[in-house]
Assembly symmetry: C2
Homo-oligomer: 357 residues x 2
């Protein structure tokens, strides 16, 4: 898999697209976007579809629609409109659009090039870079997919202003994770940053830093054979909490990043239990998460369900214990640490305590 | 894409499988095969599924079932039976099974390793090697797929004895094509060979030679950017004739190889018209095809439909003329020659004349 995705950091996605597109010598260009956001995203992108000759493809939004049926609709649209191996698919939207469109591009005629224009903070720093494309099947996330790098990812701050606070916080958790994987100084700088008050220029700088940290890791291990697994820091507990928040009658569904923010605190606590990770840093991190993110009601009666989910996570299928990414120190991850159910229960207790859940 | 498929040429697929499988350290092994052939293929393979711990997965046979729904059933089966990234899928069957199973493996958890055990001559020399996996969509062949090399391909003559004559002839056409792409001496040797009288040992030698010729080409161009297109020799007209044989009320459906055998003669005639390819070789080739393959009723009233199909072939979508692989001389292919409708009509007239169609 080629790693040479061209990255643009800009405040004008249309300008970057107009600069990059001619390099690909595409015979046809298709633009995938989530249907309900058409009236928001398309004017914001600033492309006049009618005059540009770009073929629009709308998809139904939401993780529950990120499935094979949605991919099949894209393939049928490409086919009916004469897309060839020289055609390009542009994915304009959040992580769901990038995942779905990337997968559709990866498999149409055994792969055509695609460009991501992410429109959420989470997609900027996560789904839009790295080449992991996928759809869900039978409720299992990202079980069918392909590793296929985008030809370009255009990250533009023009979409930031219209993001709801919850969306901003969802992406911020992934940025905190990247900072934790870098070094203490970087992590402390992120903890001291208020995502609700910084300027567009400051955002662009932070996003660029975060994307480059991820890119270093994914370039070194594009197919997730080893190193890349460290990007799962906070996700073992995070995915489980996200899942129960989606099924629980008493709680509102959590955003991916909100669940990861909680999961990061649990991972730091486990890092302290197993490797003596600095408890002062954990307290600072927990205080920041507590002040930024709304409280989520997590009860010890839910531990059994959480553990069940962690054991069934695709990275843990063949094991009796649960495998975690933990940290020796900030910036020093350990990619596969076996953790017992009892240690996890302890860490969840402390997480609830520190976050006031 | 890695090109290091391990190739086995044997008369005992089970023995080769038992030698190779341990190298992959698989946690679970799944075996895909076409349902109606279970009673034929599984005893012939010689594996006792119950005692081996291999999970069987049956699929509905036939090109019309090589679709996303069939792939989804395989993914669901893998998921329900706890397949991980360390699991292996073995595809036991003809080209359809190799294409479908290869695609399922390429996309399950963004790819798991797979092994092909082809059971038809056509699959030995075509679908089972080279890493082109795919399913059909809306009647368009192989439009959704992935380039993913098998970890191993086990070619065993044990399945040859039970092949119907038509299946043997279907594979033989691809072997004639490979010989045409090699050199005159090789091609003449293949023309002088009677596929119905040679021994198993002779078969193994010829198949090995044919597979290595293909492998040289696919290793040099795994993603079909250039050189690999020469493997489409005979397929532009072949695909079109195959398609009309499937829809015509007056004709029986042709096997892929039978249609390619006719297409090869048309390609040689066009090579003569455009580049003066030796007409003596064409006559020898046509006589051999005429003596081996049953006559197929091709009428000049079908030329319009054939031309329409050639213009809509996925390799020709963006062009007014039709692009052919032709030969300057035997073993000297030209990968993309523009041919006019009139030249094609002329070549079809001569094809019908030489083959007595």
């Amino acid at each position: 898999m080629s790693c040479d995705t061209k990255l643009f950091f800009t405040s004008d996605a249309c300008d970057a697209l107009e600069k990059f597109l001619p390099r690909l010598h595409a015979d046809k260009v298709f633009l995938l976007y989530p249907e309900p956001l058409a009236t928001l995203l398309l004017p914001n992108l600033g492309i006049d579809l009618a005059s540009s000759g770009i073929h629009p493809i709308a998809h139904a939004p939401g993780e529950q629609n990120k499935d094979l049926g949605a991919a099949a609709k894209i393939w049928e649209h490409l086919l009916e409109n004469g897309a060839t191996r020289k055609s390009i698919l542009i994915n304009l939207g959040g992580g769901m659009t990038c995942d779905l469109g990337g997968f559709a591009a990866a498999c149409y005629m055994r792969s055509i090039p695609y460009i991501n224009i992410p429109t959420t903070l989470l997609a900027y720093v996560d789904a839009a870079c790295g080449g992991k494309t996928a759809v869900n099947l039978k409720g299992v996330k990202n079980i069918v997919g392909a590793f296929q790098m985008p030809a370009a990812t255009i990250i533009s701050t023009q979409f930031l202003a219209s993001l709801p606070a919850a969306e901003l916080l969802s992406g911020w958790a992934e940025m905190l994770k990247h900072a934790l994987l870098t070094d203490l100084k970087t992590f402390e700088r992120y903890l001291a940053t208020d995502p609700f008050t910084i300027t567009q220029e400051e955002w662009l700088k932070l996003i660029q830093e975060s994307v480059f940290l991820k890119k270093q890791i994914t370039d070194a291990d594009p197919k997730e054979i080893g190193l890349r697994r460290i990007l799962n820091l906070g996700h073992t507990v995070g995915h489980a909490i996200e899942a129960i928040s989606n099924t629980s009658a008493s709680a509102t569904p959590l955003s991916h990043g909100h669940a990861v923010a909680i999961g990061l605190i649990t991972a730091l606590i486990l890092s302290n239990i197993k490797f003596g990770f600095d408890s002062g840093i954990i307290h600072n991190a927990a205080n920041r998460v507590k002040s930024l993110y709304p409280a989520f009601p997590l009860h010890c009666t839910e531990y059994d369900t959480l553990l069940e989910l962690m054991h069934h996570d695709k990275k843990n299928r063949d094991s009796d214990s649960v495998s975690f990414v933990l940290l020796n120190h900030t910036g020093q991850p350990l990619e596969s640490v076996s953790v017992s159910d009892e240690e996890i229960r302890n860490a969840l207790d402390i997480t609830r305590d520190l976050l006031g859940l």
